[in-house]
């Protein structure tokens, strides 16, 4: 594809608009844009905390069109995916979604994503970063399979928050409340096919809507008409990051460095280091990284991703974690940290050396007040449950708020 720079010499510098862009642009009053996979993408629209509270208290939408989407179909599709990813794809039923990981032969995490089973031999794989080259490698030895990058052919919008189900019902999506978590439903939306999955990245009640780009704006308008009475609001990457941290979900470039992009030895991570043991299924036949992961499981990982509740309210961003208050023996490091307005706790995810997990943990926190820099040492307590797990996120039928 050639880029026409005659009219706009800077065209090569500009990110491209997402299918929802005309609506997003009107609502992004702060002009707070970043980019994701080549698409112009909002950091926030109005105010990060406001958007966060829309997710936790009402309903909000997140443009996930820039996510990578691959259609994988053919008689070999299931076997190919099963050799690529760590969990057993055969166990993902029709019209169900499974969260999964895929690793290098050394058991280092390449990326995480979701597999949608749309037929006996038809799947959709979604992930945050392009993985076409890795898919091409993973196909080796499988003949009866086609992989299509649908990233630009499918618009996607996450609708998250306690009243998300009520809004979808109001939009005319019959019986959507009976969808269980990770269920997929198909609707006819004004002649177009609309796929709705009860999935999301917020840890709350929520859905993701998938539609062809030419119907994106029509879908947006219908959703926002139905959501008007519920105060529907778009949210950006910053609020997403808050919600996912409360839910304990991992984020690339925060909790893990994608293995294929990692330069330094073991500066990438393994599923066990990320405490995602439940996603590695050794009962199925060979898959990429199996031997290395089996060995790691026997010998124990070097780190464990741990949820920390930290005293005070200064986020422990970038902090080292120590065994002692004097901060002489380092035992880990913080990957993400924030003050959680919903939980009223100073929370963090941190990589901790497993043998120190049961002992005292201290975070050295640096902060700034009116151009002066300060630090304090704060006690950390590990938590074995996600910080945010409302019952409505699991309830079926889904409640109205």
């Amino acid at each position: 594809m050639t880029l026409d720079t005659t009219l706009d010499p800077l065209a090569g510098e500009r990110p491209k608009p997402s299918p929802f862009h005309p609506r997003l642009e009107a609502l992004n009053v702060r002009e707070a844009w970043s980019a994701w996979n080549g698409y112009k993408f909002a950091e926030y629209y109005y105010d990060v905390e406001y958007e966060y509270f829309c997710v936790r208290n009402r309903v909000a939408t997140y443009d996930i069109s820039p996510m990578q989407k691959y259609e994988i179909k053919g008689p070999d599709a299931e076997a190919m995916l099963n050799r690529m990813v760590t969990r057993d794809v055969a166990k993902i039923g029709l019209n169900r979604v499974g969260y999964t990981l895929w690793c290098t032969d050394e058991g280092r995490l390449i990326d995480d994503g979701t597999i949608f089973r749309l037929g006996a031999d038809r799947f959709m794989l979604t992930c945050g970063s392009p993985c076409g080259a890795w898919l091409a490698k993973s196909v080796f030895g499988f003949d009866d399979i086609t992989i299509t990058d649908q990233s630009d052919e499918l618009a996607a919008l996450a609708v998250q928050g306690p009243t998300s189900c009520a809004v979808l019902k109001g939009m005319g999506l019959a019986d959507v409340e009976t969808a269980r978590p990770f269920d997929i439903r198909h609707f006819d939306f004004r002649g177009a096919s609309l796929m709705v999955s009860r999935t999301g990245f917020t840890g709350d009640l929520g859905y993701e809507l998938w539609v062809s780009p030419e119907h994106a704006l029509e879908l947006w308008d219908a959703l926002y008409d139905a959501g008007e009475a519920y105060g529907i609001q778009p949210y950006g990457e910053a609020a997403t990051n808050m919600a996912r941290l409360e839910a304990g979900f991992i984020m690339p470039a925060m909790e893990f460095n994608e293995a294929l992009k990692t330069v330094r030895f073991e500066h990438d991570q393994t599923p066990f280091e990320l405490s995602l043991d439940w996603l590695v299924d050794f009962r199925k036949p060979h898959f990429s990284g199996r031997c290395a992961l089996a060995k790691e499981k026997r010998e124990g990982p070097k780190y464990r991703l741990t949820r920390l509740d930290i005293e005070g309210n200064r986020p422990a961003e970038g902090s080292h974690i120590y065994r002692n208050r004097r901060c002489t023996k380092q035992i880990g490091y913080v990957t993400s940290a924030m003050w959680s307005p919903a939980v009223k706790a100073n929370i963090a995810l941190a990589m901790i050396e497993p043998r120190f997990l049961n002992g005292a943990m201290w975070a050295e926190i640096y902060y700034e007040e009116e151009l002066r820099h300060y630090n304090r040492v704060a006690r950390c307590t590990s938590r074995n449950k996600p910080f945010w797990t409302p019952a409505r996120a699991r309830a079926t039928p889904a409640p109205d708020f």
């Binding site: 109005y46 509270f53 208290n57 105060g231 005070g312 309210n313 307005p341 706790a345 708020f401």
Partner: protein
């Protein structure tokens, strides 16, 4: 036998009980109504609409307590709300935009001078707030008794004062005796802006914007925070009752008991020690200690026998300044009201509406109160919680909380009657409708509460929302009375834990927590009450 009886299941009584129960004491909370929460309640008075029919916003709730009692796990979420519009006497509007630049431009539209001055105003208020916030979760020192603990507390305060610098110490002391108007005069020239900034100085108090002491009330209303954003206000999801219910959850989690429809007729005193209570139904309950969450006047004049009190206490209680001055009108609406001169901007047209008018309008409303009338043009502070909280009204419909300053506790022309109450309500609707022409057609249901209703139902004397005026003579170690600022009352084993004690009114849970700390000390139990974390300021 019970360890402790707490009289009144308002949020401070519940907080007190939660901490006593958490320390292992056997506690029962007695509530006269058939619901808990006192003035922090959610009530469905019309089907589908849940009013926070007394207190309606929250900014003083201490994070340390919220976190320590796990109130989030007990269902509490505080959602900050944004965007207040101040309505002038005529067509002028002052919009408080959340964004700093937008807010600056809006002020500049009214007065370039005041737009600049706002930065200094905010910095000064924040500095004063930070100082006072440090005293909230602490027991005031007694400057006359000077026991070691009093001395160390005084030293703590001296240190905090000194850290502000000499000039600010003088300024700060002035604050307690100045009027809101005098304080604002130093910053602003525009009357609309002054009136908008002055209203926190009169809310809940029988003072006017020109009355000495109202500057402190202003500070009291802006020193709170939501998640560290000083001056921000939040709404409790599910209404203010969600706060009380969450604290009640903590009481029960720790084995405490809460009994409703169990009004206390009398505190029993033997040998100058409180020994228990007699309930309205005649039942007697004994306990090692009795804690009153009622206001000071009600405690010492209604449920205690004058003969059980040391000399002078009854007089102090009689003279305790607890003047009713506020009304509340809760309105269910079939749609979101529209206001003239306010853009159709969802970030500002569904936050708060402050019908603050001008400094003169505010003062004239106070003049009416002094004469035992309500003003035809009262100050009304409104907020539409349903625009933020999907749980309190049907989708697309709303409820509007309207707080009115002033409303007299007794009228010059005789006692309150339902007819007069409704006329008061009509005055409020008329005022709102001046700015929202279609407003009256949207009304589905309304509840009008004058000081009379608030006293009858909640038990706050004269309907005073702070359980006593927040003036220097009744603040800090003088609250409720000089010499009794440390939660222990003149009868042994009797304590107070309501807003009549330091640090005063507001849904902060501090009074109840501070009282619990003192009680645990007296009972030689380890302290389980958290202190604020000053690193966080």
């Amino acid at each position: 036998m019970l360890d402790a009886i707490v009289i009144g299941a308002g949020h401070n009584g519940l907080t007190n009980a939660a901490y006593l129960a958490k320390a292992g004491l056997k506690v029962v909370v007695l509530e006269k109504n058939d619901y808990i929460g006192g003035a922090a309640v959610s009530r469905e008075l019309h089907e589908g609409f849940t009013y926070s029919n007394c207190s309606y916003m929250c900014s003083m709730m201490r994070q340390a307590i919220h976190r320590d009692l796990n109130l989030s796990r007990h269902g509490l979420i505080l959602v900050p709300y944004l965007g207040t519009v101040n309505f002038g006497d005529g067509d002028e509007r002052l919009i408080s935009y959340h964004d700093e630049t937008a807010a600056y431009l809006e002020l500049k539209r009214h007065s370039p001078h005041d737009a600049d001055a706002m930065h200094r105003f905010q910095a000064d208020l924040t500095r004063y707030s930070q100082l006072i916030r440090k005293t909230l979760l602490r027991t005031p020192p007694d400057p006359a008794r000077l026991r070691p603990r009093d001395i160390s507390e005084l030293l703590f305060l001296a240190k905090q004062f000194r850290s502000m610098g000499e000039q600010q110490i003088y300024e700060y002391i002035r604050f307690f005796t100045m009027s809101a108007a005098e304080f604002l005069e130093d910053y602003f020239e525009n009357d609309l802006i002054k009136a908008a900034m002055a209203t926190p100085g009169i809310i809940g108090t029988a003072l006017g914007v020109y009355s000495p002491g109202s500057a402190y009330i202003l500070l009291h209303h802006v020193m709170g925070d939501v998640d560290g954003n000083i001056g921000a206000w939040g709404l409790a999801r599910g209404g203010m009752g969600a706060i009380s219910e969450a604290i009640a959850g903590a009481v029960r989690e720790h084995g405490g008991e809460i009994r409703t429809e169990a009004g206390v007729r009398q505190v029993l005193v033997k040998n100058r020690r409180a020994t228990g209570v007699v309930l309205d139904n005649g039942d007697e309950l004994s306990a090692r200690i009795v804690v009153s969450n009622l206001d000071a006047k009600r405690t010492f004049t209604r449920i205690m026998d004058a003969g059980d009190l040391p000399d002078g206490i009854r007089e102090k209680a009689d003279n305790f300044k607890i003047r009713g001055s506020s009304g509340k009108v809760n309105i269910a609406l079939s749609a979101l009201p529209k206001f003239t001169g306010v853009p159709d901007n969802p970030y500002v047209n569904r936050g708060g509406q402050a019908f603050s008018g001008s400094m003169e309008t505010l003062e004239r409303a106070y003049d009416c109160w002094k004469r035992g009338r309500w003003s035809d043009d009262p100050f009304v502070e409104s907020v539409i919680p349903s625009a933020w909280d999907p749980t309190v009204a049907p989708p697309g419909q709303h409820w509007m909380s309207n707080f009115i300053q002033y409303c007299p506790p007794q009228l010059a022309d005789g006692p309150w009657t339902p007819e007069k109450r409704d006329r008061f309500g009509q005055t409020v609707i008329d005022k709102i409708a001046r700015y929202s022409p279609g407003f009256k057609d949207l009304i589905v249901h309304m509840e009008v509460r004058t000081p009379h209703e608030i006293e009858q139902e909640i038990g706050l004397t004269e309907g005073n929302i702070f359980q006593g005026e927040l003036t220097l003579d009744q603040l800090f170690f003088n609250r409720p009375f000089p010499g009794y600022g440390q939660y222990r009352m003149p009868v042994r084993n009797l304590y107070m834990c309501g807003s009549s004690t330091h640090p005063g009114g507001g849904v902060s849970a501090t009074c109840g927590a501070n009282a619990a700390r003192e009680i645990l000390m007296d009972l030689r139990r380890p302290n389980s009450v958290p202190e604020d974390d000053f690193f966080d300021e």
